[in-house]
Every structure is written in C-alpha cells, then in structure tokens.
Amino acid sequence: MEKYIKEHTLKPNEIERYGRQLITPDIGVSGQMSLCNSSVLIIGAGGLGCPVALYLSSAGIGTLGLVDYDTVEISNLHRQIGHRESSKGISKAVSLSKTISELNSLIKVNTYETTFTSETAMEIIKNYDIVVDASDNVATRYLVNDACVLTGKPLVSGSALKWEGQITCYNYNNGPCYRCIFPTPPPVETVTKCSDGGVLGPIVGVIGSLQALEVIKILTNNKEGVLSGRLLIYDGMSAVFRTVRIRGKQSGCNVCGDKPTVTQLIDYTQFCQSNYSESAGK
C-alpha cells in the first residue's frame, strides 16, 4: 500500500531526485523520509561493498559509513565497480566515498580507513541504525555479528565466491544471529578465499544489490518481506536461486541466547584461527 502523508520534511530537490522511488508501492513519502533519516554502516568496500554503497547512496540513505583498511589495486577492478583506475593505491573507503558523492551529493559519507576489530568496532557501530556485512573473511563475520547483537543492530549479511552467493539478515525482529546458525567457526583449511578461488563481478553485483534491497525493506518497515530466518542461495552458473528456511533464534546461542557467554567482543582472529583481512592471510 502506498502511504501518502501531508506533512513531510522532504525538500524539493529530494522530491525531484527520489520521485520515481517514492511512488513505488510500499515505499511512499514516509518510506523515503525514513531512508533520508537513516544511517547504514557498510563493512568492506570491495566486491559486495561497491554495489551496496552505490545503491544505498543513490536511494538517499542519509548517512553511510564505509569501513575498509585496504587500498585499491588494479586486480580489484574486474568486480569492484565503485572504484576507478585513478584511485589505485588510495584507500578503498575514500575511493568509494568519492564515487558515491559524485552520484548523490545530498547524503553524508563517513570513511573509516581502519580494520574493523574488537577494539574499533563498538565505537564505529554505535552511530548507525543498520550494519551491512560485505567483508571477505570468517573472523570479521563473527566480529560483525557479535557487535550487532551486543548493540542491537540488524545485520544484512552477504557473501560470494566463484559463481555462487548467499544472503540473509541476522539479528532482525527477534530472528537468528550468525552464531545461531554457525556456532563453531569452520576449520581454516575449508575456507576458500576469493583470491584463491576467484569470483565474478556480476555475482557480487547480484548479492550486493540484494543486500541493498534488504536494507531498504528494513528501513521502510516492510517486515514481512525481509530475509530473516530465510537464506537465499544463488548459483550463477545454473541461474538458479533457492530461498530456504533456516532455524530461528536459538535460546542456547552463545551471544544472543538466554545465557550468553559472549557479553563483550572477544579476539576473533584467535576464535577463528585466521586474520581480519583476506589479503593478510596470503
């Protein structure tokens, strides 16, 4: 249902820019106002982070935070469409911030040229309404999950490798968190990195776009449609998607359960036996 409200705070240049978005059913003027008044933190400005940031900035999310310690390399550009050749060697967070500012100067962008760690996470995350996990390694995924649970933020989590991708939302509307589904980190030798296995640009394009849409659904309060308690699995080679039902919030979960054992951030590199950075592991 389209929601029209008489008193709104959108400026004429916002009406002009977002017109075809706010006439979309279930967005409406009130939905657009929610987007403009919200803040989203994106962990990772790489293959997934680029489409997420491009679509969220163009949609008019009021404040975007971009966290990435890496710098742009030419070998990133086959899939990281938010960077430019001229950004080679500079921070990915800054490079992506520059691109999205040229696309939409109405929004605010904060860049964090730092590794997201147990030391930096809480100070950064507290300023945002929603977190997007667009990272590339196991340790960061557990860290982001726990930080979201401890601060009560919904987490839109996407991942990709080769021809495949996966996406779901954690810690949303009393749904499960990452640890509810994966209480124990995978053995190190079973984890394939994009730098080893390869990954195609359109795969991260699909998953990143899907992550941006989940953020929009959460912020416009389209609760029923949110991918919570459901996991979307994508096989690009066969062009088949599968939406499967996963377990709900687990009362025995170590971080979001009834008697959590994790009540503050831990050392995730130790927990996962791996680094916070894909490249650091090489």
């Binding site: 990272s135 196991v138 990709a160 490798l161 995978p186 079973t190």
Partner: protein, 96 residues
C-alpha cells in the same frame, strides 16, 4: 528408497565436481541421516574426508537442508531420511 543429494558452496569439489547425486537403497525404507552422511563419506568421497565429516557429523560451516529447510527444524543429525527426500549440503561462503 531413493534420496537426492545436492552439494553447493564448493562442497561439490569433494564429490567428483557433481552437484547432484541420486542414491538408491533398494533394501531400505528409511535411513538415519547420520548413516547417510557416513555412507557419503565412505562411498562418494574418496579423499580428505575431514573437509566434510568431523566427529561423525558434518564439519562446522556446512548447513544441511532437508527438503529446503534447515535440518535443525527436523532434529538435525538424528533425522530419519525417507524415500524421495532431498538433502542439501551447503558450505557457507565468506568471500566478498
């Protein structure tokens, strides 16, 4: 009984790169999921079984689906696989 097994997220690489396996147990009407997993380890998977099975269950990081729903909703490893069930093993991805 016939069981359809699907592998994704790279797990198919351990199983001859085949994403779909159809198995028939002509002498059974049902089979404990644990036995099916061990059967897969011993018959379909030839090497590096520790990338699939640890402590007689799937290793951490593998999500098991029974007819498109999380196995935890059906009792996990103690589920009894029935004729025509589809069991999916998904290795979770971490890249981006």
């Amino acid at each position: 009984m016939k069981v359809k097994i699907e592998l994704s997220g790279g797990l198919e690489l351990l199983f001859d790169k085949k994403k779909v396996h159809e198995i028939e147990f002509s002498d059974k009407n049902e089979i404990p999921l644990k036995d099916l997993i061990l059967y897969m380890r011993d018959n379909l998977l030839k090497e590096r079984s520790e990338l699939f099975v640890v402590d007689d269950t799937v290793r951490p990081g593998i999500l098991v689906l029974i007819n498109d729903a999380d196995w935890e909703l059906f009792g996990g490893i103690s589920y009894n696989v029935e004729d025509k069930d589809t069991i999916i093993f998904i290795s979770t991805l971490h890249g981006g």
